[in-house]
Subunit: 348 residues, 2 copies
């Protein structure tokens, strides 16, 4: 099969991989219909974190092509969403809803597991990992939004849930990438009254506003924090979403948070230091991490299907597997928020 292959810093190419086969009777083989590139893929693409050479990508929706004998809840031909991590559904972490921390799980495109940016994927623990979508008659726009359930929407939602966004909250979102934008959608959904987004990119600002942002802050660092304080009578935000994962973003988030509130952080940390004095002397908490996407998908999917959530709008570059190099390049150069990859036909 064809699949995106990582060959080292700045080098992603379409290559060949063996067609996946059922290895355990709890596996399913999925034909990938749509995939995409994640902001976290850029970390190894840019050489800022390590990643083995080989298959990559972890966000995909597709059609079940084959199932192992012990797969009970899925059938060949089912249209499914895969979370970016697979999980057994029965370990103590899964039972508590922390499916992204399954004791026997892992993520796609790592440790010999097929990546989502390819034609087929072997999915371990298929019954407890994949979520079946009812219906087939979806527009391309709807498919885009369904694909965001695989990771980015659930990750933005995890930031908002972790930060304890509730009805009437004033929220600050640090980061205008796809995760930050999904954090805006999620804050709105959880009842936030005011959503302040840090962004200096006009098209991202527009999208943020479309998703429910009420205020935009173009400043950065301490100047951005000053602006948050101006907007909030000097108190800071009731809930703060940190959706970048850098030293600067973490400080901007903690600086924006009001006494006693929580920073919900979902950025993969690079050189991050938690400003501990803000924790102790302002009682600002820190929560977040790998999103339990499998846990959130059932909660969010109806709103995606009924059109209340249009998270697919974060995709502003579209290609197919042959364009995989370009898909990474435009994101690396910040020419696109997120790249969408048409892999095969849903109806095929």
């Amino acid at each position: 099969m064809k699949a995106a292959i990582f060959n080292g810093k700045g080098n992603v190419k379409l290559g060949e991989r063996p067609d996946p086969k059922i290895q355990l009777q709890t596996d399913a083989i999925v034909r990938v219909v749509r995939s995409c590139v994640c902001g976290s893929d850029l970390w190894y693409y840019r050489g800022l974190s390590s990643h083995a050479s080989g298959p990559i990508g972890h966000e995909f929706i597709g059609i079940v092509k084959e199932i192992g004998e012990n797969v009970k809840n899925l059938e060949k031909g089912d249209f499914i969403i895969s979370p970016f991590t697979f999980n057994d559904g029965s370990c103590p972490n899964c039972v508590r809803g922390w499916t992204g921390n399954c004791e026997h799980g892992g993520s796609f495109g790592n440790n010999g597991i097929d990546g989502g940016q390819g034609e087929f994927v072997r999915v371990p623990f298929a019954d407890t990992t994949l979520v079946k979508v009812n219906g087939r008659d979806f527009s391309e726009e709807k498919l885009k939004s369904l694909l965001t359930l695989s990771d980015v929407l659930c990750t933005g939602y995890h930031a908002a849930v972790s930060a304890n966004v509730t009805k009437g909250s004033t929220v600050v979102v640090v980061g205008d990438g796809a995760v930050g934008l999904c954090g805006v959608i999620s804050s709105k959904r959880l009842g936030a009254n005011r959503i302040i987004v840090m962004s200096r990119n006009p098209s991202r600002q527009r999208l943020a506003k479309e998703f429910g942002a009420t205020d935009i802050i173009e400043e950065r660092g301490p100047e951005a924090v000053k602006k948050v304080m101006e907007f909030t009578h000097g108190e800071g935000a009731d809930a703060t979403l940190e959706c970048v994962g850098t030293y600067e973003s973490m400080n901007a988030a903690f600086g924006s948070a009001r006494v006693g509130s929580i920073v919900g952080s979902v950025g993969v940390p690079h050189g991050v230091e938690v400003p501990i004095n803000n924790v102790i002397f302002k009682n600002v908490g820190l929560r977040g991490g790998i999103a339990p996407a499998r846990h959130y998908i059932p909660e969010l999917i109806d709103d995606v299907i009924n059109g209340k959530i249009n998270s697919g709008k974060v995709f502003d570059f579209q290609t197919d597997l042959n364009g995989i190099e370009e898909a990474y390049k435009v994101m690396d150069e910040r020419k696109a928020i997120k790249s969408y990859i048409i892999v095969s036909d849903l109806q095929q």
Copy 2:
């Protein structure tokens, strides 16, 4: 009046200070009956943090000697507990219950405010700071426990509340100082089923067990974490209390926390770095900080008076103001958990 005076590293002596006077009509002057030395006093005593030369101490109970014209809820002669911070009760932080973060507040023994380790204290915002105690007929043991409401019990309670200790929780307490021991009391009160304490000091172990600890871990660092995992089927604690504030204690706490749980941290941080990878890759949260003692006192005082909480047992050294040097010395040398200072007679 006589008061403990800090004169630089390792140098605390009894000295003279002017008798405090009402400065604002919301002030009260309190005659201190009992005071004590806090673990956080040791930081500047040891030269590990800065503190202006002058009055010190922030934990005291006493008798109202004089009130300003605008003090409505207190009378001369009332027996009161003072939280270690004063607060106006009306700023947005106070209204939300974060009395230790009052926008117009401060702490005793800092910035020109009288310390608790002296004969008299001017208490700003007396109505909203001080808590009146009904009755006078208390044993010395009860007075000790009432004094812990000023800081250490509320701080231990804040660690447990921040860590989300609930009915049936398995709790790990890092730190066997007075705060850690009060964390044990608090975890028990909040319904913890199992309370694992890291301690290698036999007398502190005994007290921890008396307060409700079910298991003691004598190991430190990674070995201690290994032991926690043995005790918890490899999962870690449902709630972890970090009651020290060092790099090692923070790492031991995060290492002990199960996926999705919270580390409640109340140690004053010194050289602490939050292990961010544990936050992100284990979804372990961090909460805590300066305890809102004024907010907790009304919740805890009945249990102290009715004897369900015997937190006064953390005091294992007793003296009067003349023994202030020794009071610091025995704690500095870890010969005592916490020093109790008899300042004046309750019934006087």
